[in-house]
Amino acid sequence: MEGLGIKQRLQETLKSIYFPFVAIVVSLLIGSVVILATSTTSPLTAYGHMLKGAFGNLAAFDATLIKAIPLIFTALSFSLARRSGIINLGAEGQFMMGALAATAVGVATPNLPAIIHLPATLLAGFLGGALVGLLTGVLKVRFGASELIITIMLNYIAKELISFFVNGPLMDSASSSYPQSAPMEPSARLYKFIPGMNVHTGLIIALVFIFLYYFFLWKTTAGFDMRVVGFNPSAGEYAGMNIGRSTIFALFLAGGLAGLGGCIEIIAVQGRLMMTSFIVPYGFTGIAVALLGNLNPLGVLFSGILFGGLSAGALRMEVMTRNVSSSVAVVIQALIILFIAGRQMFAIKKRYRSRSSSGTSAGKTVTDEAKDDDAPLAPATAEEGV
């Protein structure tokens, strides 16, 4: 890759942004039809407000970053599992269980120094999600049960468990009979760290985990094995890798990432666990973020910020236009999922092929890229459906 010329690099760059770009543009266009059909505001005005609310000034970008953090974690969760050949639809439930475990630790032990309490809470969040992932992995490997159905079922079980705990064992005795936990202890919380901005130190943790995601998958043997198993299970088996163990480990880590996201959302943003803490489908939105970011570390970072902006901007759009519902943003998110997952339809076949076979070194690049980027997204890689 290092030996490429400027021109080829530019080509590569264009190629890698082509699909996300088209998917976003087409989704915005269809979204504008929805806005035209359901409101009296011009789509351009609406999108203008959305953009201002997302990236218009420092305060807007601040809000966008806060919204991006949980999405980055659920996206990393989906990406890691997908790289190992598993579709993790369970980030939703793992996120909730991470939040639940973190809450239990975060409220139960007052008077602990932050240096112990905070790491313990973060660890609980990670483990809360990871154990759900582990359970999924064990059931899949031990019994051959489809992880799709298991994760979906576990999402609903997690939802009921949250409801049970905030109405029962974890209910705040001080605020009597609102279904919510006590506020997290100050020693278990994350705070803002940039003067003039509200974004919290969870951002740093997110960046660290984006790096760890990259480092683990591309720089360690375990990560390499995982990617090989994900890319071609039989090749992995042939090379003597333990596919079952790799699957379980991948789901453990993926669950942990989602759980950590849930933990941070509670200890940094919401302050306590509530019945209404998970109205936003963090897990499912994370899938869109992961796919748009092509399962790459930096891709996830940028698309996470983009989706954070979409949600922060939607709020401003609703506030300013007064008649465009913020649910339009959900429609746009959904369309991005459809068009990025179905991106083959935008492939400019003839040109793409002729270009990829043109240069001498380009041939290598394409296979390389296929292995790195496209393979986990290609259709038919789900080795098991429902």
């Binding site: 979906i152 029962g168 789900a382």
Partner: protein
Amino acid sequence: MNEVVSFFSTTLRLATPTLLAALGIVFSERAGVVNIGTEGMMLVGALSGVIGSYVTGNVWLGTLIAIVVTVLFAAIFGFFTVVVKADQTVIGTGMNLLASGLTITVNRALFGASTSPPEIDKFVIAPIPGLSKIPVIGPIFFNHHILVYLAFLLVPIAHFVMFRTNVGLKVRSVGENPKACDTVGIRVGMTRFLSILYSGILAGIAGSFVSMGMLSFFTEGMIAGGGFIALAAVVFGNYTPRGVMFSSLVFGASNALMYRLQALATNVPSQFPLMIPYVITIVSLCIVSRRSNKPLGSGKPYIKE
């Protein structure tokens, strides 16, 4: 006695939307399509049924409109999974999000912020003359909405179509071995696409039943996991219409049990009975997955070589 009657009658009523949707999913699953988007399809059906009934003033025309709209919605799913050959799971997830966003937007645009539901024509209880007068049996089985009878009558028909007709054979072989089908001239893509549309029809009816049979209005997010429960019913029912009926009844009964426990003011937290369907689906999945009727080609788009 009264309580027993009420329990079983409630079970049948609560099982109906699950059964209707699951009878659709069972065909698309057998054809090799993992239809996670059922939840969204039911939501679309629920809203379009209410709109249809509101506009036409007739619940049956409303249901017809729900079917048409839901089939169009299902066609989007079919387009992406069969024509574009994108990942079925991811597209299904996208369809659910799309349905949730669209129904809120459309509901708001049409009915605005109102403190009262729009008055619509709705399904009424249709006791079967004669039979409904039989003690115990009558009120349990023959005192329901027409869609309840239809759902259960559909079970033997679906069973016959799936295992005794050419259509059923095609559907099953397309799911089991698409490549072989292709070589003998069965159109894999078309068969899958049509089975998705069929599951759309039933999801539309199921959605209409929730918004116009069980209730008479639409609220945002009213399906509340019903589509996933239907998917679970198909897995727990091991991909046969009869099995699906059995699992729908079990899930319906666990819900009825929860209402019963609540009414008796027992101290069982309502969350645990609500988990029953999810837990038994996971357990059954682990027990039967090695002997499952799940088609081999499930979840994989068929790409001609």
